[in-house]
């Protein structure tokens, strides 16, 4: 038999790799080419005022999809880095934590579009004569829709590392750097991955807004699905919208299969609870990757590089060294820092008051607050209606495990689907039937966020212990009694979790959904969202800031006074 080793050059014979490597090669090459092409297009020369050619020809859609997805992944990567740095700093330094955590709380209640209108000029000035500045502004807007919940989840994860593991890491002399990679980050990964998926879905919702940027009455439309949709809405082209939806679904499916499935399957090994687990998440791509030689080897060499960094950033001394002597936290320094924070907050409040007084006037503030109340009424009513609809359905699905899995997958898909694509339909219907936009625009707010309710109710219902189910049957619980004594208490904690996310999302969505246009028709509902949207299109910065500030106050008040209390109640009393 021929020995191939004698016939082929050394590089070929010893190149390694198996058939799985070879089969993977086209996929990797295609990805690289697409990445390079997309990146090159992002950094083209550009002057403010130029129009970027866009067309509604569906042939361009794959290209637009590439650009949009690229933006979203860049933003996702930035969010990931941000989350890790944020969590590491907040956990390591008490002084930083005091500022960072409340700051994040505020940041996440600022409506995403607010960031865009305020920051875009700065980003353009950063890269004069290049499209990259505008790209960065769009990416930043997407980043703001993705980063906060990820950062919170990372912070939560870092904070809740079990005490004994933390002690072990200290006994075995792990440095901060080693601890980050070996303990804190792995522990936070499952939560982080779940939040990455949520963030990605959330990002789609704002793609239209972040790609079609209006700044100082300039309309910049970056090539992408979002701009395509914006263009289609201007041109009243329903066919184009349908095409965009189709392409988007394909895109979502692609990155779900190529990115999130493998990621979720991989992250499963970082699950901490060791108890039995019904079934492991699977991914064909991950299995494939596991079978390759070459690709695996590359991953391993990356890991080895990381491990080599461990020996560089190690502890140089142990507990017997004077350097380990605890530095007494001086009470004075602590108090000075508190005073600095207080002064900064005081200054900020004073500036705000001054600004409002001189720029917009107090009557405007009152008016905006009333608008905020309108929007709040909408959010409350909508959450209530959504709960009425989804709780029974969610419980039914959750208690029928045969369907639960399949329906869960569909619902996840629906959640990723940007609800704002349905807006044109709503506008046409409202115009056709002469409906009251104040009422009929409202449901759009919850279109995208209701799924969080459904997910969580399903998740809650699946954890109802079977014994409880049998007990309820045995005692013949029926009708209202069954709901009040058994089902509702059982799903309450997960319902609250879902409702928190849904209500936050609805506030955010109000900016898009209270002010909707289709071609030249613009429908407006009275509310805080439409106020911000309107002021943004006029480029009235003081009023944008006012609107955003008021929305912040509402969202934070809502979170603190209603949701957190319910959450605590659920935590204390209603659980298994």
């Amino acid at each position: 038999m021929l020995n191939p080793k004698l016939f082929f050059p050394k590089q070929v014979v010893e190149a390694g790799g198996n058939r799985w490597d070879w089969a993977l090669l086209p996929l990797i090459l295609a990805l690289l080419v697409l990445l390079a092409y997309g990146a090159q297009q992002m950094a083209r020369p550009y002057q403010v005022g130029d129009t970027i050619p866009l067309s509604l020809d569906p042939i361009n859609l794959p290209y637009y999809l590439l650009r949009t997805t690229l933006r979203m992944f860049i933003a996702l990567a930035a969010s990931l880095v941000f989350s890790c740095v944020f969590a590491a700093l907040a956990v390591k330094y008490k002084t930083a934590e005091k500022v960072l955590v409340p700051l994040l709380d505020i940041l996440q209640s600022i409506p995403i579009l607010g960031f865009l209108s305020i920051t875009v000029t700065g980003f353009i000035a950063l890269f004069p004569g290049n499209l990259f500045g505008v790209e960065l502004a769009a990416i930043f807007a997407i980043f703001t829709s993705q980063a906060w919940n990820m950062a919170f989840s990372a912070y939560q994860g870092f904070r809740t590392v079990p005490a004994e593991l933390m002690e072990a890491s200290r006994v075995f002399q792990l440095s901060s750097w080693q601890r980050f990679w070996r303990l804190e980050l792995p522990y936070a990964i499952p939560g982080l991955v779940w939040n990455m998926m949520m963030s990605m879905s959330g990002g789609w919702f704002f793609v239209v807004a972040s790609e079609a940027i209006s700044v100082s009455n300039q309309n910049i439309k970056l090539p992408g699905i979002g701009s395509y949709i914006a263009l289609a809405i201007e041109a009243r082209d329903l066919h184009a919208i349908g095409m965009a939806i189709g392409v988007m679904l394909i895109g979502i499916m692609l990155y779900d299969q190529l990115f999130f499935r493998p990621l979720v399957a991989w992250a499963d090994k970082f699950r901490f609870e060791e108890a039995g687990h019904e079934k492991m998440p699977e991914s064909w791509l991950l299995n494939w990757l596991h079978r390759t030689q070459r690709t695996q080897a590359m991953a391993h060499s990356l890991i080895r590089m990381l491990e080599r960094s461990f020996s560089r950033f190690r502890l140089q001394y142990d507990g017997t060294s004077v350097r380990a002597r605890p530095q007494a936290q001086s009470a004075a320094a602590q108090r000075i820092w508190d005073a600095v924070i207080a002064a900064a907050v005081f200054y900020a409040v004073w500036t705000l008051v001054h600004f409002i007084h001189s720029e917009v006037g107090w009557s405007e503030v009152g008016r905006v607050f009333v608008l905020g109340l309108y929007t709040m009424a909408r959010v409350v009513v909508l959450i209530f209606i959504a709960a009425l609809i989804w709780i029974p359905i969610g419980i039914w699905i959750g208690m029928n495990p045969r369907y639960a899995e399949r329906i869960q997958a569909v619902a996840q898909f629906l959640a990723a689907f940007p609800a704002n694509l349905m807006f044109p339909v709503a506008v046409m219907a409202i115009v056709r039937f002469h409906l009251n936009p104040d009422i009929w625009l409202s449901p759009l707010m919850i279109l995208g966020t209701q799924w969080y309710l459904l997910f969580n109710v399903i998740a809650g219902a699946t954890t109802i212990p079977t014994e409880l189910h049998f007990a309820a049957q045995n005692f013949g619980l029926t009708g209202w009694l069954k709901w009040r004594r058994y089902l509702l208490p059982a799903i309450f904690p997960s319902f609250v979790t879902g409702a928190i996310t849904a209500s936050g999302g609805s506030w955010n969505a109000s900016i898009v959904s209270e002010y909707v246009s289709w071609g030249s028709t613009t429908l407006k509902a009275h509310g805080l969202g439409s106020y911000i949207a309107e002021m943004t299109s006029h480029g009235d910065f003081p009023r944008i800031a006012l609107g955003i500030g008021v929305m912040c106050v509402f969202v934070m008040g809502f979170n603190h006074f209603i949701w957190r209390r319910l959450y605590r109640m659920a935590e204390n009393r209603l659980h298994f």
């Binding site: 006994v171 075995f172 090994k269 080895r304 190690r314 142990d318 507990g319 017997t320 605890p326 009393r573």
Partner: protein, 431 residues
Amino acid sequence: MTTPIIELKAVDKSFRSADGTARAVLDKVDFTLREGEIVALLGQSGSGKSTLLRIMAGLIGVDGGEVNYRGLPLYGPARGISMVFQSFALFPWLTVQKNVEIGLEAQGMEAAERARRALAAIELIGLSGFEGALPRELSGGMRQRVGIARALVMEPEVLLMDEAFSALDVLTGERLRDDILSLWTSKAIPTKAILVVSHNIEDAVMMADRVLVFGSNPGRVRDELHIPLPLPRDVESQRVRSYIDTVYGLMTAKTTRAERAASKEAKLQVGDRLPNAGVSHLEAVLELLMEEPYSGKADLPLLAEDTEFSDQELLDIAAALALLGFASLEYGDITVTPLGSRYFNAEAAERKALFGAQVLEHVPLVAYIRRGLEQDPSGDLHENLFLRLLHFTLDEAEAERVLRIAIEWGRYGDLFEYNFNTGVLQLPQSP
């Protein structure tokens, strides 16, 4: 043989509870760990023995006094001191080998050398073949073996074991204990001293050259017992049994003779810890005691084997029975009192009345709650009121636990009612 490795001099430690009051956990504790010895710390939960171990590990700083390691002050975890944890504390995402390597990796050791040492340690502890397994694939006993290998691979001078066997079933725990002892006696490991924190009396007597019994509130070394028996020891041997009896006696004695003389009567205070024993356990043990072969009197170690309660549980139950006057404790023996046998023979309603009366008389916390309810015009009070009171003397978890016990006893004795959902205590509604 007698060179000190770790020395604690007049160590004080207090923790701040949620409401800001400081609570002393350790009070002027002196302790020396010397070369060549195994020391066991025994004591009730909350007596500060785990805190002491963590101070020696450099994980917690002290408020007063000195901690010296080889004559130098100890400010943090030291290289020569390694630790085995109660719940293993393995990194679930790392393989067995990576877990064992973690300390060497942190030192920056070469990968090949690291692997060589880790594999040797894995071999030593009897886990060969599982190098690539993830901890979740292993049983509890095997996980703890990983934990031990991880500590031993550091070639520590001092090995600290924090309840290392208590999360395991009895047989597995015993095997692991014997394996460690044989490593120790055969000098297969360079470890010069081992400190074991445990609540299993048999473990302590089987391993230790010295047993220290901790008293609580605040924690201090109450008794010290030398066990000059050679290793390995035979559980069934007369001398080991008699040492176990002695330790039981030390654990059940209320205080040392000296202290008893100092304070004429050590009466329980409102804010004191209550034995962690539910009513059903109390009744079960009392009934067992009344029946054959005990007929009213039992040796605690024997009872422990018979009931399959852990030492800690049984000691709590015995202390509770003694507190309520249903039994008396004397150096490791429990005897049912006449009151106890009256209780045993009574009907359910009489039992409850008897129990209530005893609890009211002997448990100040319950009496305090009852009095509060009687004096309150509305007749109901929130549990947080009493929880806050307990925070002055106990830490958060302990306060919660003590209140639960007081509520259970009081409820059973028909002294008050309690609504779990609202957390409100009230006087029983007369039927």
